[in-house]
């Protein structure tokens, strides 16, 4: 793995081509899990690991996979890792497994995983694909954790389940429900896009 390329991929997945606010992938899970930081952390770690390992596996198998059944094989590999994570959570983290409920199984529907498998792992070597999957997961995690921090703080008055707000604080019920994630995701997109647009115009003017 060449270092400059790895750094470029990291920057791309965390900022320039972030799966949430640029590619707009994986929005459904953003709405579902981000009302508590604990659940978000477990879920996003699950997504990052699934993306990384399924990209690795699919990239390693890419020369063997016939094009006709490409997608079927991708789905088999992705669901393999998701079920594996579900089994491991149930065995070693029963509390988190109970709280996440059906969301773990829903990792498989996360478009980021298949998106990376199709867009990157198919044309790149295994280790680089692993890194790409992992950093895509990290980009997803960064945005979701930020949203979850706002939602949990205003919706429950806590962070990671610990009381932060003063006793008299009235929780904002809307923050617990899915609509608030729409507002917050939109705000993140607005912020990120305007910063990127400003940088682009600044870059163009510097060239002139």
């Amino acid at each position: 793995m060449k270092a400059p390329k790895a750094v470029a991929i990291l920057k791309d997945n965390l900022w320039a081509n972030n799966p949430i606010f640029i590619q707009i992938l994986g929005i459904c899970s953003t709405l579902a899990v981000t009302n508590s930081l604990n659940n978000t952390l477990v879920m996003t770690v699950g997504v990052a690991l699934t993306t990384a390992f399924s990209s690795l596996t699919l990239s390693a198998l890419k020369d063997l996979i016939p094009r006709k059944v490409r997608m079927i094989v991708q789905v088999v590999v992705i669901s393999f890792y998701v079920i594996l994570i579900d089994i491991l959570l149930r065995a070693y983290l029963p509390e988190a497994s109970r709280q996440l409920g059906p969301y773990v199984g829903l990792i498989i529907t996360n478009c980021i995983i298949m998106g990376r498998a199709e867009a990157f792992a198919q044309a790149n070597p295994p280790l680089l694909s692993f890194w790409d999957g992992l950093t895509s997961g990290l980009g997803y995690m960064a945005v979701l954790m930020a949203i979850a921090a706002v939602r949990e703080l205003l919706g429950f008055g806590t962070l990671f389940g610990l009381r932060v707000m003063p006793e008299g604080f009235v929780p904002w019920t809307i923050m617990i429900m899915a609509p608030s994630a729409f507002f917050l995701v939109a705000m993140v997109m607005w912020w990120a896009k305007s910063v990127q647009a400003r940088r682009q115009t600044a870059g163009k003017e510097a060239k002139k």
Partner: protein
């Protein structure tokens, strides 16, 4: 063999499925006992919690459970003597707002006074309906009188939004903002009391 030939495609797909499914089967087999132990601990801790028996950790819960609780005649029911009084505990499930709510309820054998209630599983909205699993809500049931095997639920506008501390009125306060979940919960508690009465009357 050509990569796009029918035979290769079929064989490859078959092999990929077989290998990955085998790996999952091995993982499942390997963790089966651990998963079963976790499920057993979840049930035991809920039964002990409903009976008001304190415990400390997994091993202690199993010991206390073996010490105080015996199996009832009906499936998923338990008999126990705590502090010289007999209690019947039952597991009861019913529909919530989003999914099934499973509770364990302990009460006197005649079903006239509740000992305690614990939620085993629920999928209600976190922070709203999900608050039925919180101690302030379940605490209202501890020692609550249930005349005729029923506990009233003050849901919606009737609810004070705080816990009802009167143990003799046969009423509890619902979770504000979760009227439907509160009503469902009341129905599950009443059904559980009916089952306690059924199995308690046989003794």
């Amino acid at each position: 063999m050509k990569k796009d030939s029918m035979l290769y495609v079929v064989l490859f797909t078959f092999a990929v499925c077989a290998v990955f499914t085998l790996a999952l089967a091995i993982a499942n087999e390997g963790t089966k006992d651990l998963v079963a132990a976790n499920a057993e601990f979840a049930t035991q801790s809920a039964v002990l919690g409903a009976l008001g028996v304190p415990f400390d950790g997994k091993a202690d819960a199993a010991a206390r459970f073996a010490e105080t609780v015996g199996a009832g005649e009906a499936p998923r029911s338990w008999l126990a003597t705590v502090g010289g009084a007999d209690y019947v505990a039952v597991e009861q499930s019913g529909p919530g707002l989003w999914g099934t709510i499973v509770v364990i309820l302990a009460a006197t054998p005649d079903g006239e006074r509740i000992r305690g209630v614990r939620v085993v599983s629920q999928n209600e909205t976190p922070g709203l309906g999900g608050r039925i699993a919180e101690p302030w809500f379940l605490g209202q049931y501890e020692g609550e009188r249930s005349p005729g095997g029923r506990v009233g639920m003050r849901a919606g506008a009737e609810s004070s939004g705080a816990a009802d501390s009167d143990k003799e009125n046969g009423r509890v306060d619902g979770v504000s903002g979760a009227t439907r979940t509160s009503q469902s919960f009341a129905a599950i508690v009443d059904a559980a009391l009916a089952r306690v009465k059924e199995s308690g009357g046989e003794r």
